[in-house]
C-alpha cells in the first residue's frame, strides 16, 4: 500500500474520531473523507492541496454546533474539493469512472438503501460517462446530475440514465471543463440533503430558515368534518398539510378556512416527497411551503405542509375538510404560526 493511500486512510480514521454522531451525515463523515482522499490521489500533483479537505472537514465538525451550518460546511468543502480534483485530474476512463462512483456514493448512498436499484442507477451513470467520446469533467457532472434526479423507485425509472446515455452517444456534446466542475460542485454542495435537491429543489431555500414560533394544533379532519379554533395572539398563518392525498392534482379542493378554500397547491400530501413516494405523487410543491426537514442524505425530504394566511383580525376560525374527499384523505391542521 502506497504512502498516500495509507495516509488517506489515517485521515479518514481521524474523521471517525472527530465526527459528532448527530446526523447520518456526521456518521458518514469518515466515508466522505475517504472518498475525497481517494479522489485527491487522482488529482496527481494537486493531491496535497485537495486532500487538505480532510482537516477542514474535521475542523468544521468541531466548530459548528448547529446541524445546518455544520452540514453546509461539509457540503461546501466537499463540493470545492471534488470540483477542484475533477478539474485538475488528467481524466481517462478509469479515473472518470472513479469520480462518478464517488459522486454517486455521496449523492445517493447516504444512507444506503435499495442496494440493487442503486447499483442499476450507478451502472446507468457509468453508461452516460462511457457514451462520451472522451471522458471529461462535464461527462462526469452530467452522469451525476442524471443519477441524482433518477428516482430509482419504481424500478422502471432506473432506465432514465440509460436513455440519457443513448442520447449522449448520438449527440456527443463537448462542453468546457469548468462548466462540468461547476455543475459537479453545485450538486455536491447539497449532498447532505441530496434527497431534497433531487425531489424538491425549490424547497432548499427552507433549510437555512430559523424555526418559526408555532402554536401546535395537531388535528386531522376526516372528509366533511370541521373544527373551530381560537386564534392565538399574534399568529398570522395556519400550517396545514394533507394525508393520503398524494394522488390528488393541483387545484383539487381539500377544505376551507371559513370561506377561504384550501387546495392542493396551497398544501401537499405530508409525505409526498419521500424517497419511495415522490415519483408517484401528483402533488405540486406548496405555494408557500412550511414543511420541516425530515432525514438526511438521499433520504432527506421536506414535508408537504403549506402556510395559509388567516383572515385579518380573526379571533376564531372554522376549518372544514371537503366532504367530497376520498374517505382515507385527511386534512391535517398542524399549527398556527
Amino acid at each position: 500500500m502506497s504512502l498516500p493511500v495509507a495516509s488517506s486512510l489515517a485521515a479518514a480514521a481521524a474523521l471517525f474520531a472527530v465526527a459528532p454522531q448527530a446526523t447520518p451525515i456526521d456518521r458518514a463523515l469518515p466515508l466522505v473523507g475517504l472518498l475525497l482522499a481517494l479522489l485527491a490521489l487522482l488529482a496527481e500533483r494537486w493531491w496535497a492541496a485537495v486532500v487538505m479537505a480532510l482537516p477542514l472537514l474535521a475542523l468544521a465538525a468541531i466548530s459548528f454546533s448547529d446541524d445546518y451550518s455544520r452540514l453546509l460546511a461539509y457540503g461546501v468543502i466537499t463540493a470545492i474539493a471534488f470540483a477542484a480534483a475533477l478539474y485538475v485530474a488528467p481524466l481517462d476512463r478509469w479515473r472518470a469512472s472513479a469520480f462518478v462512483i464517488a459522486g454517486v456514493l455521496l449523492l445517493r448512498w447516504i444512507p444506503p438503501r435499495h442496494v440493487v436499484r442503486e447499483l442499476v442507477v450507478m451502472a446507468g451513470a457509468l453508461a452516460i460517462l462511457h457514451a462520451f467520446r472522451r471522458p471529461s469533467a462535464f461527462a462526469v457532472a452530467l452522469a451525476l446530475l442524471i443519477a441524482l434526479f433518477t428516482p430509482g423507485v419504481p424500478m422502471r425509472t432506473a432506465v432514465l440514465p440509460f436513455l440519457v446515455a443513448a442520447i449522449v452517444f448520438v449527440v456527443r456534446p463537448r462542453v468546457p471543463a469548468i462548466v462540468g466542475a461547476l455543475l459537479a460542485a453545485l450538486l455536491l454542495l447539497f449532498f447532505p440533503w441530496s434527497g431534497v435537491l433531487a425531489r424538491a429543489t425549490p424547497l432548499l431555500r427552507l433549510l437555512p430558515r430559523p424555526e418559526a414560533r408555532r402554536h401546535g394544533v395537531n388535528i386531522a379532519l376526516a372528509p366533511g368534518e370541521s373544527t373551530t379554533l381560537e386564534v392565538p395572539w399574534n399568529m398570522r398563518w395556519l400550517i396545514v398539510s394533507a394525508s393520503n392525498a398524494s394522488r390528488m392534482k393541483r387545484g383539487e379542493l381539500l377544505g376551507r378556512i371559513d370561506d377561504q378554500p384550501i387546495r392542493i397547491g396551497d398544501v401537499a400530501d405530508w409525505g409526498a416527497r419521500r424517497r419511495e413516494h415522490s415519483y408517484q405523487s401528483r402533488n405540486p410543491l406548496p405555494r408557500d411551503p412550511a414543511g420541516k426537514l425530515r432525514a438526511y442524505g438521499y433520504d432527506a425530504w421536506i414535508d408537504g405542509a403549506g402556510r395559509i394566511a388567516l383572515p385579518a383580525g380573526a379571533q376564531h376560525i372554522t376549518v372544514t375538510a371537503d366532504g367530497a374527499l376520498d374517505k382515507e384523505v385527511r386534512l391535517q391542521i398542524e399549527a398556527f404560526q
Binding site: A10, A11, A17, G33, M52, S63, A79
Partner: protein
Amino acid sequence: MIAALIFLLLPLVVFRGRLLLRWYGFELASYGFAFVVRRQLTIDPYFAVVLFFTLKLAAFALVLANAKEVKWSANRAALIAALIYALLVPAMLRTSIDGDEPYYLLATESLIHDRDLDLANQYRDLAHSQTGRTDLGPQLGDPIGPHGERPSRHEPFLALLLIPGYLLGGLRGAIATVVLFGVLLVRSTVRMLEDEGIDDGTIRAVFPFFAFAPPVLFYAARIWPEVPGAFFFVEALRGVRQRRPKRWLPALLGLVLLKLRFLLVGAPLAAMAFRRKRMLLIVVAIPAAIVFFISGSVTNVHHWRELLPYAPKNYLAGLCGLLVDGAAGIAFQAPFYLLGIAALFRWRRTPEGFRLGMIAAALYILYLLPRSEWHGGWSPPLRYIVFLMPVLALGAAAMWERLSAGVVALLSLWTIGLVAHGVAFPWRLFHIANGESEMGEWLSMHTHVDYSRFFPSFIRINEAAWIGVAVLLVLLFVRLRSEFVAPLATIAVAALAFAATRPPTHVEFEDAHVEHLGGELYPPEYTVARFSYRGGWLLREGEALAVNARRGSWTMQIRAPQGAAIDVGGRGYSLRPTGEEYVKLRVEVPREGRVVVRVVAGGVILDRMDRD
C-alpha cells in the same frame, strides 16, 4: 461590486493568451457557485463575501505561481498589490482607527492647521478631527512641554509624510499614503528577491504570502510606521548590497526618523556599510537631534535604562512567544515566515541579503524580546517585527525548493483563514493580550469548553506553550513529507476535540469559555497596557458565572476589597476584606460538570482557579 471589478482587472496584469480566457471562465463559475451558496448561508454575509474573495485571491495566487503564460515583473507585482490594497482601505475602516493610529493623524492635523506638534487643542476639539474618535486624550507617558504643550510621544516623521495624502483626501488620503508605501514595499521586496538570485517561479509563489498575508496585509492600510519602516529597511538593505550610499543613506535616515527604536537596526546596518566609522554618526546624530528638538530629550519617551539587560526568562518568554504564541506568534499569525526562521538554521546557504538583514536586526530583536510588550500591545499581531518580514520572506524563498506541497497547502489554508478573519473583522486584530487567542476564544465561546488551553500562550504561560515550542523545533529540523501533512492535521484536530471533552484543571475566569452571567471584565478592555495587570472578572452581589470543572478541591485566587460571601456549586464561603491583595480560597467542587459561582454578598474579582 468594486471587489468584482478589481478581480476582473487582476488577471489582465499578469495572465495572457488561453490562460486569461480560462481564468475568466473560472471567474464566471465562481460567481455562479457563490450565487447558489449565498442563498443557503446562515453566517455573517459580510464575512462570507470576504471569504469568497479571499479564496478567489488564493486561486489567483495559485495560478500565478504555477502557470506558464504569465507576464511578471516587480512593477506588475506592485500593481497587483495596489489593486488589492485599494479594497483593503474600506475594509479596515469599518471601525474607527485604533491603537496609535489616531495620534499620528492628530499630529498630521496639528501640523496642517497649527503648524506645530502640540495636540492640546486637538484633544479639546476632537469633533472636528478626521480620526472619528472623540475619546482621545494624551497617552500614558506623553511628554509635557514647558508651557503645557501636549505633543504625542510618537515620532513626527510619519505624521509629516501623511500631510499630502491628508490634504487630498482626509483620513482616507492619509491611509492611501500608507498604502502607497505598501505598494512600494512589495515592489522593493520583489526586486530584492530578484537581486538575491531567487528565480521567477519561486518569487511568484512567495509573493502572495508576503503581500497578501499577515502581518504586511494588516498594516498596509493602517496608519502605523511599520510598513513605511519595512520599505525603508528593504531599500537600505538593497542599497548596502549594491554599495549605493545614495540609496541606503536616505532610506536608513527615513527608517530611524519613523521610529527611534529602529536606530537599533539602522546603526548596525550603517556600521556594516560604512568604511569610515565616523560617518555612522550621521545615522545616529541627525535623528537624535531632531528628536531632541521636538521632545527635549534625545531618547524621546524612552530611557537609557531600557538598554540594560533583563532577567533571562524574559528573553526566553519573548523569543518563544514571538515564535509560537497563539495570539501573537509567527506560527499562528503568519506561519509562512516560519520558513524564514528555518532558513536561519541553513545560514551559510541563505542569500547574503538575508544574512545582512538578520544581522542588522539582531540587536533590535535582542532588545525587543524581554520587554513586556513583545507581542505588540494594542495593535495587529507581530507589530514590532513587521519591518523584518521582507528579510524573512527572502529566507523563506531560499527554503521554498525544499518545501513539500503538503506543507504549502497547509500554510495556504491557514493563511486564507487569517486573512478572511482579519479583513472581515478588523477590530479583532486588536487583542487584549490576556493569554487567549482568537481561534481559542471562538471555539470556547461556541462550545463553553476551554479550547484556549490548547493554544500556546507566552503572555499567560500555559502547558501548550512548551509543547508548541517542542513541536516547532521538530518541524524546523524535520522535513515533513506531503503525505503526512493532511493526516497529521486531521489527527491534530481530532486530538484537540478529544482533549476538549475533559474539563480543565485550571480556569481563568475572564476567558471566553466561562459563561458570564453578569459582572464585567477587570480591568476594563481599553485599559492602557492591560496586559501588565492581573486580569480577572468582577462580580457584584447577585451576579454569577459558570464553568466546566472537575470534581474535587480547587484553589481560587480571589480579591474582595470589602469582604464578600460567595456560593460555589451550592456551598457557601465567606471572605474577609482583602484590600488590593489577591488571596487563596480553597473551594470544593461537588461534581464534575457545570459549576456556578455566585456572589451572595459584597463584590469580588475572580482571577483564576487551580485544581489541587
